[in-house]
């Protein structure tokens, strides 16, 4: 039991140290701009199809599920509002984070993990670079930039999915009514929340993914373990932090 606690505290310490270095390096040269761009391409452009698909189908599904309840109250015209609020505040940020975590936290953990077990991380230090600066910081910066953008796109295509379902398939409402109800439902508070969340989730994904990669041990099996743990841990933390951000914004009103 004590050993287990000790290892947990040590893991936390390693995580905090690595994260601290990743942030401090933001203000320290050299800056690996090329690596940031490459990572933005891998994470951002690479995740685009899966994020758009998830967004579209969740928007359409919310509409489908809500249509019955809304019909019961004779409020089917308000479907745009429901889709807008649930997507922008919750589902857009969270679902995007989950898909990006599944795709990129694992990618980071396995890439850095296999570099670790083949001594490439050691080689990097031996040959004059700080691995946190060269590997972690560019990933952190890249994902913090692209995640809000991906979320905006997911929200937009989700609203479009809702529109297809509500107006074209179920005939719940009209064209203009759907979009105006969606537009009116959103306040600046919602938009801020909808953008702050992905910005924070992105950092969780990058730091957790890189942490598991950088502290991989035990060959190919270790890389597999690190990859799984990175995905599971980052997704759990996304949900936990999501609650706190939600709470914060509710209190704000």
């Amino acid at each position: 039991m004590l050993d287990w606690l000790k290892s947990q505290v040590l893991a936390l310490q390693n995580f905090v140290t690595l994260s601290g270095r990743a942030y401090v390096n933001l203000f320290r040269s050299p800056h690996y701009v090329d690596d940031i761009i490459i990572q933005m391409d891998t994470i951002g452009v690479g995740s685009l199809p899966i994020v758009l698909l998830t967004g579209f189908f969740s928007g359409a599904t919310i509409t489908l599920q809500m249509s019955r309840a809304l019909n019961q109250y004779g409020a089917s015209g308000e479907v745009g509002q429901i889709v807008a609020i649930s997507l922008v505040r919750e589902l857009g940020p969270v679902l995007t984070a989950v898909t990006v975590a599944g795709r990129n936290a694992s990618g980071m953990a396995s890439e850095l993990g296999s570099m670790k077990v083949t001594e490439q991380i050691d080689a990097m230090r031996a040959l004059g670079t700080d691995p946190a600066q060269k590997l972690v910081t560019p990933r952190l910066v890249a994902i913090a930039i692209v995640q809000p953008l991906l979320t905006i796109l997911a929200d937009a295509i989700g609203l479009f999915g809702g529109y297809i379902m509500a107006v074209l398939a179920l005939h719940l409402t009209t064209d203009t009514q759907y979009w105006s109800s969606a537009h009116q439902a959103l306040e600046y508070n919602d938009l801020l929340q909808g953008l702050l969340k992905p910005f924070i989730f992105a950092q969780i994904i990058a730091l957790v993914g890189c942490y598991y990669g950088m502290f991989t041990s035990g060959g190919a099996q270790g890389v597999g373990r690190a990859t799984t743990q990175a995905v599971v841990t980052s997704i759990v933390w996304v949900f936990v932090v999501n609650l706190f951000i939600g709470q914060f914004f509710i209190n704000l009103r």
Binding site: E119, Q120, D122, A123
Partner: protein, 279 residues
């Protein structure tokens, strides 16, 4: 035999480890290991798998901090040195990692050029990077592989690129971590010839961890002949005199001495690193 007492570092010392102890969670990886390497000397570090050869080399490079003991590099006390100071020291050291440690996302040219571009203390102007990379690759006879990536090369070739990357900064000390592990005997000899070539053409101090006695035997008794381009038996015992053998066992330094002393050892563990060759 080298004196392992706590004496101040001499100027021609390249590396000095004093009473290094390193513990992992539930085991002791290194137990009060001391050893010294002078300019132009070769040290063969032998020992069974897991006896602490690799960690010893990593401590010498500052990649791992020991729990106890002191590290001197080029006569400078690095025990409490910052990563930045280590970076300067590493400019004068080269390392070949066990599997080569090449960056598999980069081309061979970028791999070999990496230390030139990234170690500030090397002071290599950008225009000189490519010629020096080519020179280092010529040295290991792989001049034609610049645009390839490590996965396109065989294990032995990757090891040779690793050597090129280790020596491209013209270091005074090169550390080799099991350069022949997992290679067939012919390729292994090619690799060892390169180790000797680097040592004899540039007079670098060499520390080589290996589990093969042949590697040490080769370095102690052969020299690189630049005219014939191959290893030739050393005349006189100049090479043997500057080659020391140490044997690690369970994190301890259990033997230190010349090849003759190693072969004369009657200790069961130590003699297996000499006997294997004779059989």
């Amino acid at each position: 035999m080298t004196n392992t007492a706590q004496s101040p570092a001499l100027p021609n010392e390249v590396l000095r480890l004093e009473n290094i102890t390193l513990r992992f969670e539930d085991s002791t990886a290194l137990d009060r290991v001391s050893f010294v390497l002078h300019q132009g000397e070769t040290c063969i570090i032998q020992g069974a798998a897991g006896s602490g050869k690799t960690v010893l080399l990593k401590i010498a490079l500052g990649l791992i901090k020991p729990d106890e003991g002191r590290v001197f590099v080029f006569g400078q006390d690095m025990t409490a040195a910052s990563e930045r100071d280590w970076m300067d020291a590493r400019a004068r050291m080269g390392i070949l990692f066990q599997e080569g440690g090449l960056f598999d996302s980069m081309t061979i040219e970028d791999n070999v050029g990496y230390p030139l571009e990234n170690i500030k203390a090397v002071h290599c102007p950008p225009a000189e990077v490519r010629p020096r990379v080519e020179e280092a690759l010529q040295f290991v006879e792989l001049g034609h592989t610049l645009d390839k990536v490590p996965s396109e090369l065989s294990g032995g070739m990757r090891r040779r690129v690793g050597i090129a990357r280790a020596v491209v900064t013209r270091p005074q000390l090169v550390l080799y971590d099991s350069p022949t592990a997992g290679l067939d005997p012919i390729t292994a000899t090619t690799i060892m010839a390169l180790v000797a070539k680097e040592r004899d053409t540039r007079q670098t101090a060499t520390a080589l961890a290996t589990h093969r006695y042949q590697d040490g035997h080769l370095l102690a008794n052969y020299i690189w002949d630049p005219d014939r381009g191959e290893l030739v038996p050393a005349r006189g015992d100049c090479t043997a005199a500057r080659t020391r053998f140490v044997v690690m066992g369970d994190g301890r330094l259990v033997f230190e001495g010349s090849q003759a002393e190693l072969e004369a050892s009657t200790d069961e563990y130590i003699s297996q690193f000499a006997r294997r060759w004779k059989e």
